[in-house]
């Protein structure tokens, strides 16, 4: 019984939040890594692309809500998601046509592209704030919980409660579906194969008749879709505020680099590594140990490795260690 309590406490406060946050980071990191793999630059505008996608989705959600359309127990935002994706794809293609293509034709160096993406980031930053404002926006509706802590306690008779929010469930399930579809697309379809070929060796791909502009276009479309999904899931689970998306950029890049830039599998692993390291290293293990150890061994202190103030330091410490010993990331990506 005690061991069960320990397990439930751990699941409630570490595993579930870690899984949800990890999925959101993984989806974000996938977008960053695809751009890096195929277009060969670090896209600093990714966080704000997520914010833009989430914003369009929120606007459609509000429109649906005012028309009385709902999605039952699920959040209405899921219905609005395709429209959000469409809007973001339009924006991504527009920036590519007007900004990035110019530099691509000049064969600009990657570092120039990075600076350009920084500029795009500030533009999108302003655009989102201009349209929806800098404040918190709430757009989650439907049933809030799959299971509530109190209900769980009554059902099982355990001391510890287990709560799973609907948004957490949706996040993990959506992430699995999206990743499966993405890998199928990259490995099985003609377009996916040409994208990978272009990523592996640009010249060889051109020689074999692959249209580079088409590859670039598909990449932006996929990245815009990924960014919107990640942004909406994060906004549903936490709350939507343009500034938090800007701050998300750091953990997302940390995830992509730890996993290996350019490697989709690595991006997913990196997302979960960063999310879990933030939660576990700053977790106070007192409760779990008290349940699982015999009384004589139970600790008096909090058994907390690091205070929660340091949670951001944790992901960067991991990043530095990985870069020192395996510069290409855990799953062979490209050297940074």
């Amino acid at each position: 019984m005690d061991l069960l309590n320990a397990l439930v406490a751990l699941t409630n406060f570490v595993v579930i939040p870690g899984l949800a946050y990890g999925s959101q980071l993984a989806l974000g990191a996938l977008g960053v890594t695809l751009i890096y793999g195929i277009l060969r630059f670090s896209n600093f505008a990714h966080g704000d692309t997520m914010a833009f996608g989430a914003m369009v989705t929120i606007l459609f959600t509000w429109a649906f809500q005012s028309m009385g359309i709902s999605f039952g127990v699920l959040p209405t935002a899921l219905l609005a998601l395709p429209f959000g994706i469409a809007g973001t794809i339009l924006l991504a293609l527009l920036t590519d046509r007007t900004v990035y293509r110019f530099y691509r034709e000049q064969k600009a160096k990657p570092v120039i592209f990075v600076m350009v993406s920084l500029g795009v980031m500030f533009m999108m930053n302003g655009l989102v704030r201009f349209i929806i404002g800098p404040g918190d926006q709430r757009f989650a509706d439907g049933e809030r919980f799959i299971i509530k802590a109190r209900t769980f306690k009554q059902m099982t008779g355990l001391n510890e409660g287990l709560a799973i929010k609907t948004t957490q469930g949706i996040t993990v399930i959506t992430a699995i579906i999206v990743v499966a579809v993405l890998f199928w697309f990259l490995n099985k379809t003609r377009t996916g194969k040409s994208m990978r070929a272009y990523s592996d060796n640009e010249d060889l791909a051109l020689l074999s008749g692959i249209n580079p502009e088409r590859v670039v276009m598909y990449t932006w479309m996929i990245v815009a879709a990924l960014a919107t999904i990640a942004g909406v899931l994060y906004g549903l689970d936490k709350s939507f505020k343009p500034f938090t998306y800007f701050q998300l950029l750091l953990p997302i890049f940390a995830s992509a680099i730890v996993g290996g830039l350019g490697n989709p599998l690595g991006a997913i692993a990196g997302g979960f590594i960063i999310a879990f390291s933030e939660v576990t290293i700053t977790y106070a293990w007192k409760k779990v140990l008290n349940y699982s150890l015999p009384d004589s061994l139970a600790p008096d202190g909090l058994v907390q490795l690091l205070s929660t103030d340091y949670k951001f330091a944790v992901s960067f410490a991991i990043l530095i260690v990985v870069l020192l010993f395996k510069p290409t990331g855990l799953f062979k990506g490209k050297a940074v």
């Binding site: 406060f13 939040p17 870690g18």
Partner: protein, 397 residues
């Protein structure tokens, strides 16, 4: 450029003083609050409170030679020292005769050190409550109409004890205000035999607080005390703790008391309790009535304190017959404390008359003002419990 700025500021200041000597027709009071940032939902009512007092005095026409009192609003951002200091200097340059503010403790200390002391300007803050400000070297220029958090710590410990709570988990917003208040609560609560299981900081403006909530939940405790801001991390922590079932009841110090918190969290917040500076003096009711007429909420946190801060400035000016900070600063404690005729909100005209005739007043105002020690309020608190999605006042202590 800097020299030019300094010169302009100095010129503006002397110009202001020169006017004062010749009995100014206009008195300017700076209203320096965080109209943007973590307490942006409280600041508008605070500004209205201060301006209500100014309008009342202007209407009475009895200040000095029937001077008009003009408010000049400026923003501190609540946590933005650079912005706050720049705007403080702007107020001086515009010829303010006194500064009502700042609001949050960190910026208030910064304005005091970088603007008020170098320029000899008097500041009365309605809401900066950090204990650190009691001991900060201020050349006697700083006053506040709210009590120090050291007092709030004692009050909170009393409330917790009376409710039979023996252990608390404590989290604070990572700045001067949060840290000072958390220390005060911890010391006082342990002083009355309570146990504090964990003290941990949280950062404002983040999306994800699961690590913080996890650590707090593991440490356990009867309730979770959140010494934060209701529009910021404090809300995120409470939401996260409720969602994961970590805590059901929350202790809410002053920064967490406001109408938006129960509205945002919903019915789960019912039963949580806290306290905020406020008094049951007759003045509070009168002020709420006056505020209603003026079209804002007079029970909003720190709005009455703002009214009192503005009133103290104008009464001290009248008592010293000057708008020069160096002259009226010594009169602030005189008009605030006994002996003298007690003055409620809405009676500022009467007070000005008494002072003009050379009499004494004991300004009570909207919060039962009583300044002690280094010029801060002795401190009475409103005990609050959230019932049915509303902050309800239980009693005063």
């Amino acid at each position: 450029m800097k020299k030019l700025l300094m010169a302009t500021a100095a010129a503006a200041l002397t110009a202001g003083t020169a006017f004062a000597g010749g009995h100014a027709k206009e008195v300017k009071l700076g209203v320096l609050f965080g109209f943007t940032g973590p307490i942006e939902s409280l600041a508008p009512a605070m500004g209205d409170g201060a301006e209500l007092a100014m309008a009342e005095v202007t209407k009475s026409g009895k200040l000095l030679d029937s001077a008009t009192v003009t408010p000049v609003r400026a923003d501190t951002g609540c946590i933005d020292n650079g912005l706050a200091v720049a705007n403080g200097e702007k107020l001086i340059a515009e010829g303010a005769n006194g500064i009502i503010g700042g609001d949050c403790s960190g910026v208030t200390g910064a304005i005091l050190q970088n603007v008020a002391i170098p320029n000899g300007m008097v500041m009365i803050s309605p809401s900066a409550t950090s204990p650190g400000l009691s001991t900060m070297e201020d050349n006697g220029l700083f006053f506040r109409t709210s009590p120090s958090d050291a007092r709030e710590g004692q009050v909170m410990a009393e409330i917790l004890k009376e409710r039979g709570i023996n252990s608390i988990a404590l989290t604070y917003t990572n700045n001067d205000y949060g840290k000072g208040l958390a220390d005060a609560i911890k010391t006082s609560f342990e002083g009355v035999g309570g146990e504090v299981t964990i003290v941990t900081a949280h950062e404002d403006g983040k999306g994800d607080y699961s690590a913080e909530v996890g650590a707090l939940a593991s440490a356990g405790g009867d309730i979770l005390v959140v010494a934060g801001y209701l529009d910021q991390g404090g809300l995120g922590i409470i939401q996260g703790a409720l969602d994961s079932g970590a805590f059901d009841t929350f202790g809410l110090p002053g920064g967490m008391i406001g109408d938006t918190l129960p509205a945002n969290v919903g019915p789960d917040l019912d039963g949580s309790f806290g306290q905020i500076a406020g008094s049951d003096s007759k003045g509070a009711e009168i002020f709420a009535e006056m505020a209603k007429e003026a079209g804002f909420d007079g029970t909003s946190a720190y709005a009455p304190e703002s009214y009192d801060a503005a009133a103290l400035f104008m009464l001290a000016m009248q008592a010293s017959n000057s708008t020069n900070p160096a002259d009226y600063v010594s009169k602030i404690l005189d008009v605030a404390n006994a002996p003298g005729e007690p003055i409620n909100p809405g009676e500022l005209g009467k007070a000005l008359e008494i002072l003009a005739a050379g009499g004494e007043i004991d300004y009570q105002g909207a919060t039962g003002v009583e300044l002690i020690g280094p010029g801060e309020s002795a401190g009475s608190y409103r005990e609050i419990e959230v019932k049915g999605g509303k902050n309800e006042t239980l009693r005063f202590r």
